[in-house]
């Protein structure tokens, strides 16, 4: 049981956290023909857009209601209406996902009411789905925004089936925002190998996997279709991945009666054994040969790797579900979780295998990561890693100083195996050669503690 501590500092230093609206915007990007719209100042969108461009190295569809000072006083109805009309004319999307920001929430704009009025006044926009989601910047974090947007899409778009017409092969999958397009592709392969027909909401593997579209598209390049979202009520099961998706899964169950199964994580041997067992039972298909083989390969990687993982101290900073995934996995490989820092509250946190979990920033992380063998966090950890001189695995969003962030795959037997190789190689590369001084008696050794040194 970890003790969950909330950092009491007045000044956040080197934020780990990002804001809800852009988490929600990313969720909308997993839908085909979609345009996320942030209701706020144009900077709210611009920062998010640049962040995703740097992370995915892809064009990012994202618009703004461009609230001016006057509009923040008078209310944003005109801006929302104009934005929707402009987007419809310029980009012709199937879905506009509208996320509030701090600006809109403080003004108290009733976005849902706005949309009703806009619907009534613009019958010509009838073919465009409009989904609003409340995502104030001053509450929660990125993953909360993602989860809220998925829940709202379920509420607004999924149709309640008229009668029991369950398609026995159809499965809904609700992935948390910590799953990359690569992870989703891997899971699709796995589900299909059991003769299942998986539909991911959201599906970033269609939109942000990095591919060359045949034509220019101002909206998302792919993702789950609106038609397939509407039909989610006809699936046999819903699989939610990550605690953050529980709310959306429950909402879906309430609306449609589709039962859900939640996997906290899909990295590690035990977690994937559970997945394989579940899929086999649900589908009636025995675990395919390919995955039996992959399981065996994972076990071999664990055997080869455990020499290098055992006793290592790892510091992890990530959003709750990714933190849970990584902390549990390194612990299963024999490492000690020296530091665990996260962004927002989650029932998961107290089960993380660490003494304490801090809801804080990368300054809190840097202080606690001193002396660790490995730092694991997103690219903003680079300054800390450099100062501490500790090997640094970049994971999460944003990863802006390495290639292939969208294809970093850590789910499944194969994803876990590859992660063992990646991290194991980092441990191997940072091993120290012995010198005549290595085994000097303790009196001659200086303290291994390195103090946080700030130069200016």
């Amino acid at each position: 049981m970890a003790k969950v501590i909330v950092s009491q500092k007045q000044c956040t230093v080197n934020p780990l956290k990002m804001s809800q609206p852009i988490g929600a915007a990313l969720a909308f990007m997993g839908v085909e023909g979609s345009m996320p719209l942030l209701h706020g100042s144009q900077g709210c969108t611009s920062f998010g857009l640049v962040l995703f461009v740097r992370h995915f190295r892809e064009a990012i569809p994202m618009q703004t209601t461009a609230m001016s000072e006057v509009a923040t006083v008078l209310g944003g109805f005109d801006n929302v209406e104009q934005a929707i009309v402009n987007i419809a004319n310029r980009a012709n999307p199937g879905l506009i996902g509208i996320c509030t920001t701090g600006v809109a929430e403080i003004k108290g704009d009733d976005l849902n009411g706005f949309l009703k009025l806009i619907r009534a006044g613009h019958p010509e926009l009838g073919h465009i789905a409009l989904v609003d989601v409340s995502t104030p910047d001053f509450e929660g974090a990125f993953q909360d925004g993602w989860a809220a947007a998925v829940t709202r899409m379920v509420e607004e778009l999924v149709e309640t089936p008229a009668m029991e017409t369950r398609l026995s092969r159809r499965v809904n999958i609700l992935p948390g925002c910590h799953l990359t397009p690569g992870d989703i592709d891997e899971l699709r392969d796995i589900f299909e190998a059991f003769s299942l027909d998986p539909f991911f909401l959201p599906d970033l593997s269609g939109s942000l996997d990095g591919h060359i579209p045949a034509e220019f598209t101002p909206t998302t390049l792919g993702g789950i279709s609106l038609e397939n979202i509407r039909r989610m009520g006809s699936a046999r099961w819903t699989v939610a991945i990550g605690e953050q998706m529980r709310g959306a899964a429950i909402t879906l169950e309430h609306r449609t009666g589709v039962p859900y199964k939640l996997f906290e994580r899909l990295t590690g041997l035990a977690a994937n054994d559970e997945l394989m067992g579940f899929l086999s039972q649900m589908s009636g298909v025995p675990v395919p040969r390919k995955y039996r083989r992959q399981r065996s390969q994972l076990i071999d990687a664990m055997l080869d790797g455990h020499f290098h993982f055992g006793g290592k101290k790892v510091a992890v900073a990530a959003e709750p579900d990714l933190l849970g995934t990584l902390a549990n996995w390194v612990q299963e490989m024999g490492c000690e979780v020296q530091a665990a820092v996260t962004t927002t509250a989650s029932p998961l946190l107290e089960h993380i295998p660490a003494e304490e979990v801090v809801i804080g920033d990368l300054e809190d992380f840097e202080l606690r990561a001193t002396g660790a063998n490995l730092i694991v966090t997103h690219s903003h950890g680079r300054q800390a890693a450099e100062r501490l001189g500790i090997p640094f695995l970049r994971i999460g969003i944003p990863v802006f100083d390495r290639l292939g962030a969208g294809q970093q795959t850590i789910v499944g037997y194969r994803g876990t195996r590859d992660l063992i190789f990646t991290v194991g190689n980092m441990f191997l590369a940072s091993g120290h050669e012995p010198t005549p001084e290595t085994w000097l008696p303790p009196a001659h050794n200086s303290s291994p503690l390195v103090s946080l040194h700030v130069t200016h």
Partner: protein, 472 residues
């Protein structure tokens, strides 16, 4: 807020800005803050602009008063480099929560400033106001004043809530903060007849360092660069410079103009991009200094350096020229960079097939027209779809633009080069021009283009036939 409104109005009515002065009185009062179109806007807010302009000051703490979005979503993303302190890359924010919204964020802000000063001992703290605290009425100026007095450090309010306008306005408001609170507050230990300020240069990718060695050689001292690789005290003492160069014409014209007005520092508008522009800038710097009393031999020494460096640059560019000659470039960038880069590219034999003039002043446009003759297009607002079409139809060989449009080119399988602030290469001065030409050359002649444009095996009929024969 009303103070801010007055400030915004003043900034817009900028006598130093030719574009502004050319307008009729009524339009001039409206300022250059174009109303943003909801749902069709691109670009940063005023806060973003202010951060771009001031973050290059390296030894101060940049503290953002707002919810996590403003700083958490954007920090460590700007490529200005430092020769010393790395403090400017440390991110500070009040990370406002619901509690602040209910009770007001002023006390929180005060305590945050105190924490920063106690933990990091910066030369000063720059505090940025964002939309949310502005809406709930947090009085930035008063908190900064109180904190500065109590903590014995300069605490500079930068009042730039995003909703007041664009990035460009934010640049100017940042300049106002320097004029109001920093410039002229300290005296330099010594001055020389060779002291200059460089205004509007942010040392992105270290570009200032491509220029500085030549100034050093000439004995010209950069008293302050506003704000690339600068220290707080340098800017505080910058009012004692003898002359100034304003680099990015629209970003900080108010700083250059008001420093001339208040401290009698003459300035000129110049560019470090392109061989000709670099030489002109060196000449003008020397001339202004000599006009203000520096020994006249500076002019001769400057010509010697120019001649030597131009020759050296051309010599290094020469091997690339045959490969670049006649290659068509589509150029998308803002303001001053358009005409200065146009000239620079033409020097190397490249042909400009089109350029954006969205952020350019009428003066800029005139210069571009002159430079490009009739053989190119100026686009006010080229939609990405059109841009894609142009590239796809191979009406250009390479696009030079900012990060936002890079995928339009790349997805059309066209070479692309980053020339905006997030770029990784430095393109200033003679060194920079050589680097730019080499980068364009590398991009154009990379072997991937031929490979990736090849049809896929299932699109290639000949291959299908061959396969069929093989199988048969």
């Amino acid at each position: 807020m009303s103070d801010l409104r007055v400030k915004v109005q003043q900034v817009f009515d900028e006598p130093g800005c030719a574009a502004n002065q050319a307008k009729p009185t009524r339009d001039r009062k409206k300022g250059c803050n174009k109303l943003l179109a909801p749902g069709a806007a691109a670009g940063g807010c005023a806060f973003d602009g202010a951060k771009i302009a001031l973050q290059p000051i390296t030894d101060v703490a940049h503290l953002v008063h707002g919810p996590i979005a403003c700083e958490g979503n954007s920090w460590d993303g700007r490529g200005s480099k430092s020769s010393g302190s790395q403090l400017y890359r440390t991110s500070f924010t009040t990370n406002m929560t619901e509690q602040d919204i209910v009770f007001g964020g002023e006390k929180h802000l005060y305590k945050a400033i105190k924490e920063v000063v106690e933990k990091y001992n910066p030369a000063a703290v720059f505090v940025y106001q964002t939309c949310v605290p502005a809406m709930i009425g947090d009085d930035l100026e008063t908190v900064c004043k109180a904190a500065g007095k109590k903590l014995g450090k300069p605490v500079i309010p930068v009042n730039v809530p995003g909703f007041v306008g664009s990035k460009n306005l934010g640049n100017k408001l940042a300049g106002e903060a320097l004029l109001d609170y920093v410039i002229g507050t300290e005296e330099p230990e010594e001055t020389t007849p060779y002291d200059i300020n460089i205004i509007g240069e942010y040392n992105l990718s270290g570009e200032l360092w491509q220029v500085k060695p030549l100034l050093d050689e000439l004995g010209i001292r950069i008293l302050a660069c506003i704000s690339g690789d600068s220290k707080y005290h340098e800017i505080a003492r910058s009012h004692r410079a003898r002359a100034a160069m304003m680099v990015c014409s629209k970003a900080m014209i108010n700083v250059a103009r008001k420093m001339e007005e208040r401290y009698g520092i003459p300035y000129f508008e110049g560019s470090f991009y392109g061989i000709g522009d670099m030489s002109d800038s060196l000449r003008k710097i020397a001339q202004l200094l000599v006009d203000r009393g520096a020994p006249a031999d500076l002019l001769v020494r400057t010509e010697v350096v120019i001649e030597r460096e131009e020759a050296r640059a051309w010599q290094r560019i020469a091997p690339c020229r045959p490969r670049l000659l006649g290659k068509r470039v589509l150029l998308f960038t803002g303001g001053v960079k358009s005409w200065s880069v146009v000239a620079a590219l033409q020097e190397t034999g490249l042909v400009l097939t089109g350029t954006s003039v969205k952020k350019s002043t009428p003066g800029d446009k005139e210069r571009i027209k002159e430079l490009m003759k009739d053989d190119a297009h100026m686009f006010d607002d080229l939609k990405p779809r059109e841009m894609y079409k142009m590239l796809k139809e191979a009406r250009a060989d390479i696009m030079l633009s900012g990060g936002r449009t890079q995928f339009v080119a790349l997805k059309a399988k066209m070479p692309w080069l980053d020339i905006n602030q997030e770029r990784h290469h430095a393109y200033a001065g003679y060194e920079g021009m050589v680097a730019l030409v080499r980068e364009i050359d590398k991009a154009l002649s990379n072997p991937i283009w031929e490979q990736i444009r090849r049809p896929a095996p299932w699109e290639n009929v000949a291959m299908d036939d061959e396969l069929a024969i093989h199988i048969a």
